[in-house]
Subunit: 420 residues, 2 copies
């Protein structure tokens, strides 16, 4: 098994140079054909998916997960559309980011190049298979996909369908790879294939991400967890604050850019919090507050309870909000920087100095003034696609589009220069 | 001990926000004062260094390492000058790299910010202490330095001297930290302080770097190893080729951008190699060739021997060159991409197509046409300083200046936008 894994990684590593050199036209045509193939093989893919669904039900997989696993005609159309969209994006590869002549006549350019081989480790959502391949391929990278065992039949069928397009276009075999063994040993061995794989991106829950970070020797980009805060300043417009919090909390509940915690200035807590409570009542949002927040909203209000220390650090992904009351902007910033996951935070204020200080001092990938944290998204940022949202500071931070899947090389034009 | 380590890391983590906000003027004045303090405390620093030197001699440390460890007035002046140079560089922090208005009116800017807390793990060169602090501080980061046990007294004295400048300028205590325990357990625990440390940069030999890569959970930038190649194409100017190889091999021998291996097109091997051999003879460069190279240079020539498989992958850092003869450009590129460390490679050619293909297909941080690999250096590239040369593709590749020690955050200006 391990030999197979190593061979697969090596094959991808060897293919990386030719894949990195493909013209945009060839890549785009391949992506469009891969989309066609997904639809042409609908029967096989849905049959494979039915097998996964049956296994899932036999193993009492929760309804939510079964729903993420399920494919049907519309979802397959969605995957194919995704590939076609990626074909329409600008090709990031080859751009010379800067080029300068040095005093000795050397011309030094910085050229955008693919990263090489990218490993994606993900859980039971088979649509990631097409999506991750599309983004890696458009940016000139070879992809090694390692999906969860729950979706293995679906993933195999999807990859086989897309492979047909690659073969027809004479794209090297190592371009798209699926690790079919789903046992833990294979996953652990994969995370250490540093010789062949340049980057690992885990996509899934906290447990998966932590396991990759702790075990990988390959560089990792951490994505995902978002304990996002909205701070309602003493100079906030209440209607705007309520509208934004309602949107950030309830517009979509299980996503990383949803708001999980609000922080409120003490000067307005008594006026603001009852209004917020009323506005969120129709969504039955449970409010877990500190003493002051609880007393402002009413100690016997049915949706109000006392927050524990654990609440401040929890990403609920549910109709729950933690509510902290603070004495100052400084305290709000300190609270946020202590408990956030460096994903997205917003302030609601009309005060210039307060807004500037919040933008400066909150340590997060995306810091908003007077807007919903729900905008932290590759499409909303204008990238056209997204491979995930990085919560680390190395390489890429925040929503990652195609550029996040690139590196650079220096190209140096000389005419005989030697170093004195 | 581990509690102390954690407290130290936590202190740095807490200081990162204020350090990231310091004005350039304050940072520059602090750097100049730190330079002054190094010289003001020359006596204490040289006394501490004498202790390290004595311990080193008692432990039979090789002469080369003793030389790297030794400090004297001139070297201390050099360290102080280094800090003053860093004070003169542009401050990378705060630059807004791009800012665009989205269709919904949101204004999204990408602002350059510090990485936060940077850990530098290095070996017995005490000058790294001042240098690494200077670069981290100028780019708004807190530094945690972990030097080798051999230089511990010197490092403590250097850090204490610089700390005086920080205290006088009221810079937070957590800005500059030295881990004084030098045992392996502390180092291992440090590499896992992911909660507080954003980036680790190992500076030293291959063993140190591999150990950090294998054990760290904190993101790492790999630096250093350079098995650099020069390919002499069939369309090369021989004089230029010899001049460049002489420079890249012999101008400085123990550095990562020195040439370790040459690749020669078969069409010119018989004419070129004897000339090269003659030119390098005065430096007594040992030539380890494949069969063809050996026969071109003369099987009984005193400095010529047969290369083993191991030679192709070896960074000699010595007066040795491996010599490979190839039938084509394609074979040269394949050989280089198989054995290089992705650091720096050069081609010598007068042919346009060959030069372009080499630039495109060699997978290295720095790819040269008709110039010496010795130019791979932050100063030579115009960065004004260098923290190391990255041989990985994530975050920073090639020579790393101040910008490599920065990340970015998105700052988003809204007026009440919510996501539809």
């Amino acid at each position: 098994m391990e030999t197979n894994l190593e061979q697969l990684c090596k094959k991808a590593h060897e293919a990386r140079i030719s894949v990195g050199m493909l013209d945009s036209d060839v890549k785009n045509e391949t992506l469009r054909r891969a989309a066609d193939k997904l639809l042409a093989h609908e029967q096989e893919i849905l049959a494979a998916n039915a097998k996964d669904m049956e296994n899932g039900r036999n193993r009492n997989m929760p309804e939510g997960l079964l729903d993420r696993l399920a494919l049907n005609h519309d979802r397959l159309e969605g995957m194919a559309d995704g590939l076609r969209q990626i074909a329409k994006l600008d090709d990031p590869i080859g751009e010379v980011i800067s080029m300068k002549k040095r005093p000795n006549g050397l011309i030094i350019g910085k050229r955008r190049v693919p990263i090489g081989v990218i490993g994606i480790i993900f859980e039971a959502r088979p649509n990631v298979t097409a999506d991750a391949f599309g983004l890696c391929f458009k940016s000139g990278n070879c992809a090694i996909l390692k999906g969860g065992s729950d979706a293995i039949h679906s993933n195999i069928a999807i990859v086989e369908a897309m492979q047909e397009a690659l073969t027809a276009m004479q794209i090297p075999e190592g371009t798209l790879n699926l690790i079919e063994s789903t046992d833990r040993e294979t996953t652990n061995a994969f995370m250490k294939m540093k010789q062949y794989v340049d980057l690992l991106i885990p996509r899934g829950g906290r447990g998966l991400i932590q396991s990759v970070v702790n075990n990988a020797t390959i560089p990792v980009i951490e994505t995902g967890t978002g304990n996002c805060h909205i701070y309602v300043d003493e100079f906030a417009d209440f209607d705007m604050a309520i509208n934004i919090i309602r949107n950030a909390k309830t517009q979509r509940i299980g996503v990383c850019n949803a708001c999980e915690s609000i922080v409120v200035h003490r000067a307005i807590a008594k006026d603001f919090l009852p209004k917020l409570y009323e506005a969120l009542k129709e969504y039955a949002v449970e409010m877990r507050g500190d003493d002051c927040a609880v007393s402002c909203m009413g100690t016997d209000a049915p949706l109000v309870s006392k927050a524990t220390e654990e609440d401040w650090g929890t990403e609920y992904l549910d109709y729950i909000l933690s509510v902290k009351v603070v004495d100052s902007l400084e305290e709000a910033i300190a609270h946020i920087n202590k408990y956030n996951t460096s994903h997205s935070e917003a302030i609601i204020t009309k005060n210039y100095d307060v807004a500037q200080k919040f933008l400066d001092q909150v340590d997060s990938a995306c810091v908003y003034v007077n807007a919903s944290t729900r905008f932290s998204d590759g499409n909303e940022f204008g990238f056209g696609a997204e491979i995930g949202i990085s919560t680390q500071k190395l390489h890429a931070r925040g929503p990652m589009g195609l550029e996040a899947l690139t590196s650079y090389k220096y190209i140096i034009y000389g005419n005989g220069q030697v170093r004195p």
